[in-house]
Each structure stands twice: as C-alpha cells, then as structure tokens.
C-alpha cells in the first residue's frame, strides 16, 4: 500500500534542504576555482607562453654584391617552408619574396636582390588596417592576424614595397605554422615560427641562400650590438629601400 504524504511541508525540513543546496553550491564553486587558486595560494607560478619582447628587433641584412642574378633559391626556400604553391600566374599568386634585378641610372651598375616585407617600424600597412589585423610585434616582426583580416586590401595599397599579397583563390597544402586563406592578405613573416621556437632561428630564405653558398642574407637581432648583423651594419653603410619615407625598416641592404 502506497502511503501518500499529505502533510504540509515542515519549515525546518525546508530550511535544511536550502542549507544543503547552498553547501553543495559552495563546494562546486571551490572545485571550479581551485585549479586557478591553488598555484597562487601555494606560491607556485604558471609559466607563461613566451611572447615577443621589445628587447629584440629582428631583421635582415642583404648584401646585394653576393646576391646572384637568376638565382631564386631564397624564393623557393620561402615557398617550400610556407606551403605556397603558385598557379603560374605571377600577378595573382602570393609573392612573399621576389627577386628584382636593378641598374643604377647614373653609373649603370647592376645588382640583384630579394624584396620582401621590410618589417617597418612605422609600418603603413599597420596604420591603415581598419581592424588592426595588420600588426607589429614588440620584436619588430610585422604580421597579419588571419582571424581578423577582412580582405579590404588597404594594406596592399599602402605598402610602398608591394610586399603584400591578396589571396585570390582557394589554397591547399597549408602548413600548420603558416595559416593562409582565400580572401585575406599575407606577406613575409620573417619565419616567425622559427624565431619563436628558438634553436633554429634562421629564416628559410637565409638558410636557402647559405645552402646555395651565396650567404647574401644575414638574419639577426638589430638591437643587440654584439650580434653579427649589428656588427656588419656598423662596419658598412646599410641602406633602407625608400629611405625617404623614413619607415625605419627591419630589412637593410648593402651595396644597393
């Protein structure tokens, strides 16, 4: 026989139930907050992910006297590193780095050099980007945030070096360290994944150039007076491309 409880609720029981509920809620809160609170209470510290530091200013020094006309090892090295597969149309394909042959109008001296994002300190692409997707890290590396780039191409218009590429068609075979996407803009990252990984710091273009026995591209910390790149720049007059714009580029050229 089922006995039905038809008595009115006991105020004492109701109070106890509410107390139990509050106790459980308190325990749940502690359980949720504990992982965050414990290290602080115990004095332990969580190791933060290493970010860019303004103690460095990464850059490249390119000796045009060592750069060989017709050699495009740096371009191939870069494309291989970042999974850039051309479609054969140079005007719509991504051009993170390209080779240019020059002749001086006065002396007729000829030179060859790679042109890529110059990682400007006062980067016009960063200034004009409406969403802030174009940004400069504390260590001077200029990048594009692929999540907030809306593909307006204002940065392509603003770049004095034509170093930015708009991706006109679907991309495939992407590398995990170099995310790319149709409808967004991209450019040389100075192989930032290598910089951040430490150990193997040299960017792919510099490695490819060295492998080709030309060693025209020197990578390093411009703000460290003891670095090879700073010493080389102090010894010889390194030039900025379009120095008249006073953008304080991170990429400098010798024998331009």
């Amino acid at each position: 026989m089922i006995k039905m409880n038809l008595e009115p609720p006991n105020p004492t029981n109701s109070l106890a139930a509410r107390r139990r509920f509050l106790q459980r809620l308190g325990l749940l809160s502690v359980a949720v907050a504990a992982p965050a609170l414990l290290p602080a209470l115990s004095g332990a510290t969580i190791t933060p992910v290493k970010g860019a530091s303004n103690k460095h200013r990464w850059g490249l020094l390119i000796d045009t006297s060592k750069c060989v006309s017709g050699c495009d090892a740096c371009v191939r090295g870069c494309h291989e590193e970042h999974g850039i597969n051309g479609t054969g149309n140079d005007h719509t394909d991504a051009q993170w780095i390209r080779k240019i042959d020059l002749q001086d109008d006065l002396t007729a001296k000829q030179s060859s050099l790679p042109m890529m994002c110059q990682h400007c300190d006062s980067a016009p692409c960063v200034d004009v980007c409406p969403t802030g997707a174009s940004f400069k890290r504390a260590d001077g590396v200029v990048l594009v945030n692929k999540h907030t780039c809306i593909g307006c191409r204002y940065c392509v218009m603003a770049c004095p070096y034509k170093a930015r590429s708009f991706i006109h068609e679907p991309v495939s075979n992407q590398k995990s360290w170099a995310p790319r996407g149709q409808g967004t803009v991209e450019s040389c990252t100075l192989c930032v994944h290598r910089i951040d990984a430490e150990g193997e710091q040299q960017p792919a273009c510099a490695v490819a150039c060295t492998d080709e026995a030309h060693s025209a591209i020197l990578f390093g910390d411009l703000s460290d007076p003891q670095s090879d790149i700073a010493k080389a720049m102090n010894k010889r007059h390194a030039q900025e491309v379009r120095s008249d714009l006073e953008l304080n580029t991170g990429v400098r050229y010798l024998n331009l």
Partner: protein, 402 residues
C-alpha cells in the same frame, strides 16, 4: 494667432508603366549583383580582373561613386534648411531619402567586394583608430543615423523647429564624410599618384557634382510620375548650382595635376595619366564628357532646350564623367609602376615591378557595381512608397498653428 507654412506630403503612387519598368529593371540588376557577389565569394577574386597590382577594381569605382553621390544628394535638404531657400523645401525629404539610399548601395558594394565579407562583424566591432578606413566606418554609419534623425525631424511636426540645427549637423557631417573618403586615397605615401591632400577637396567637389546630378535625375523621373516636384525656380537654381559645382570640380582637378607636374617625382605618374593608357579616360571621360559638355549644355543660349532637358543631359554626362574621374584616380593610381628604387631602373622582376599592370574588369565586377546602383534606386523607391516624402502639390498652404 501665428501662421506657418505647411506642405502636404504623400507616398509615391504607382500606376505608370514606366514605374513598373524601372522597378523590374532594378530588381533584375539587384539579383544579378547578388549572384555576382556570391560567385566572387565562392570562387575568390581570381574571377575578377583584379590582381596583386590592381587590388581595388571596378566595384570600388562604383562604391566610391555612390558614396560621394550620397553626400552630394543631401544638397536639396541642406539648401532648404541650412541656407533657407524655401523652394527646396518640397524636395528636402526626398533629398535625405535618396542620400541614405545611395550610401547603402555604395556600402553594400564595398562590403561585398571584401575578400571576407562574412567578417563584416569584425569590421564593425574591432577598430584601429589610426586607420582612416576605420574612421570612415563611423562616418558612414553616422551619416545614416543623422539622415534618419533629419528625416524624422522633418516628418514629425512637433520636432520641426529642430530641422535647422539637424540640417547643420548633417551638412557638416557630409563634408567631413567626403573629406574622409578622399583621404582614404590621399594618404598613401607609397603611391605617387595618390599621395596628395588635394584629393580630399577634389572629392568634396565631385560629391557636389555627382550628388546634384543624381538628385536631378531622380527628381525628373519622379516628376514624370506625379508632377509636383519641379518648378522653374527650382530648375533655375539647380542649373546655376550645377555650373558652379562643375567649375569647382575642374578647378581642383587642374590644381591637383599642375601641382603634381611641379614635383619631379610625380612626372611619370602624370605622363601616364595625361598622355598614357588612361589619358582617354581622363581627357575624354572626365574633362570633355564630365565637365566641358555639361557646362556647354547648361550655359550655351543657342541650344534650344528646356531647363529640364538641359539638366537631364548635363546630369547624365556629369555622372559618366564622375565615374571616369574615379576610374582614373582608383585604377590609374594602381596601374602605374610603384617607385621602389628612386634613381634605378628595374631590369627584371617576376612580379612585373617595372611594367604597367593591366586591368580588365570582369562581368562579375560590372554585375556587382550595377547591382549596388540598382539597389540604391530600388531602396529609394521603396522608401518613397512607404513614407510620405513627396509633396502632394507645390502649393505651400498657410495654416493656423493655433
């Protein structure tokens, strides 16, 4: 007892065959524009004529045309409420509605031409205030908000006394808006063709020309359906204004190019614009069709044309000329080699750094641009059908305010 001027307004009455034809053509063009945008987003910009030299193509020409025309189309309202010309009052509401519609059309083209139009929410929520583009987003949305308030003040009799103040705000805002649009192009230091602060006043003058032209054509079209909009006083005023706006435009255009010719670094760009591949677009499109012919039609007494006829022809020509000028400014500036190495000649580059890039707009770009224009006209007609923005008669009645 005080007496106030009172106009009765009504919605647009359909019924004419031409109204249906305009509506159908606009709907067809909007559908074509939508299809073009979808196709471009799916396949990528590879199906357009754009490339990494010319990254802003024909959709930008249409979008900027519509945006500057929007600013100028507000003239009708400004002349009534800011400058106190009472004969513009009957068309003031229409002027605001047209301005807002043109801006919506232009912005839609601009957004659908983005590489990632699906990320519009990012553009609306994440701002870099060093970017003129970001400021323009505020200027455009602000223009729509101010326009809506302006229209509200006009339509709600309780707020009629705020019209003048609102008109002043709208007038100032649209001048800043067009200056901002011109500045998008004017502050690009790496491009010799665009590195000039004169582009801002040039755009203001262009907005006055294109906006007045658009307003005139819409007025004449609507007047054919319900003859309550045009009168000799208004037509005469529009004609005089149009002449001054065209003179202002050609003045800034001349100053822009003459100052460029003075600077050696701009010589190659000027040679390209004035004597090169786009010289026809500049001389025939902008100067002859866009300025000389309209001025001739407006001023020559020997032409046996009515005021309406003169205005329709000159407005149509000025709109074509405005498109040509923007084509020269936007496409021409990207079609000249960028000066990477002053004092040196580029011998070879796979990217074609030394050559003149070519650009041929594809059918998808035409579709998107014309779709935006049609959407502007369509939305204006729809607003006129829903809201009482057109005067029922030209007669201004004296009504007791008691």
């Amino acid at each position: 007892m005080t007496m106030i001027d009172h106009l009765r307004y009504a919605t647009l009455k359909p019924g004419r065959l031409s109204y249906g034809v305009v509506l159908l053509v606009c709907i067809a063009a909007v559908v074509l524009g939508g299809y073009s945008a979808l196709t471009m987003e799916h396949a990528g910009h590879i199906i357009t004529g754009m490339n990494n030299h010319v990254v802003w193509g024909l959709p930008h020409v249409f979008a900027v045309s519509l945006i500057v025309a929007a600013s100028g189309a507000l003239n009708g309202a400004s002349l009534a409420s800011v400058f106190g010309l009472s004969y513009y009052k009957p068309i003031a509401r229409l002027s605001v509605a047209l301005a807002m519609s043109l801006l919506v059309g232009g912005l839609l083209v601009l957004v659908l031409d983005l590489g990632r139009p699906d990320r519009l929410i990012v553009a609306m929520t994440t701002y870099n205030f060093r970017s003129i583009f970001a400021w323009n987003i505020f200027l455009y949305t602000g223009f729509l908000f101010i326009g809506a308030c302006y229209l509200w003040m006009m339509m709600e009799r309780r707020f009629n006394h705020h019209i003048k103040a609102m008109g002043r705000v709208a007038f100032a805002w649209r001048i800043v808006l067009t200056t901002g649009t011109g500045s998008i192009f004017g502050f690009l230091v790496g491009r010799n063709a665009l590195d000039s602060a004169l582009l801002a006043p040039l755009f203001v003058a262009l907005s006055l020309v294109m906006g007045t032209a658009a307003l005139t054509l819409v007025l004449v079209m609507l007047d054919r359906w319900q003859a309550t909009l045009l009168n000799d006083q208004l037509l005469g005023s529009l004609r005089r204004l149009f002449v001054w706006f065209l003179i202002a435009l050609v003045y800034f255009s001349i100053v822009h190019h003459v100052t460029n010719l003075y600077a050696t670094e701009h010589h190659s760009v000027e040679r390209y614009t004035l004597m090169g591949q786009l010289s026809g677009m500049f001389w025939i499109g902008h100067i002859f069709v866009g300025v000389v012919l309209p001025l001739g039609v407006l001023l020559l007494p020997t032409m046996r044309l009515s005021n309406t006829g003169r205005l329709v022809i000159s407005a149509s020509l000025a709109l074509l000329g405005g498109l040509a000028l923007l084509y020269v400014v936007i496409i021409g500036s990207q079609s000249t080699p960028q000066m990477l190495f002053p004092g040196k000649t580029i011998l070879a580059s796979r990217f074609g750094d030394a050559g003149f890039p070519t650009y041929h707009p594809s059918v998808w770009e035409w579709g998107l641009g014309i779709g935006g224009l049609a959407l502007a006209v369509l939305s204006c007609l729809l607003v006129l059908r829903v809201l009482p923005l057109l005067p029922e008669s030209q007669r201004i009645e004296n009504v007791s305010s008691e």
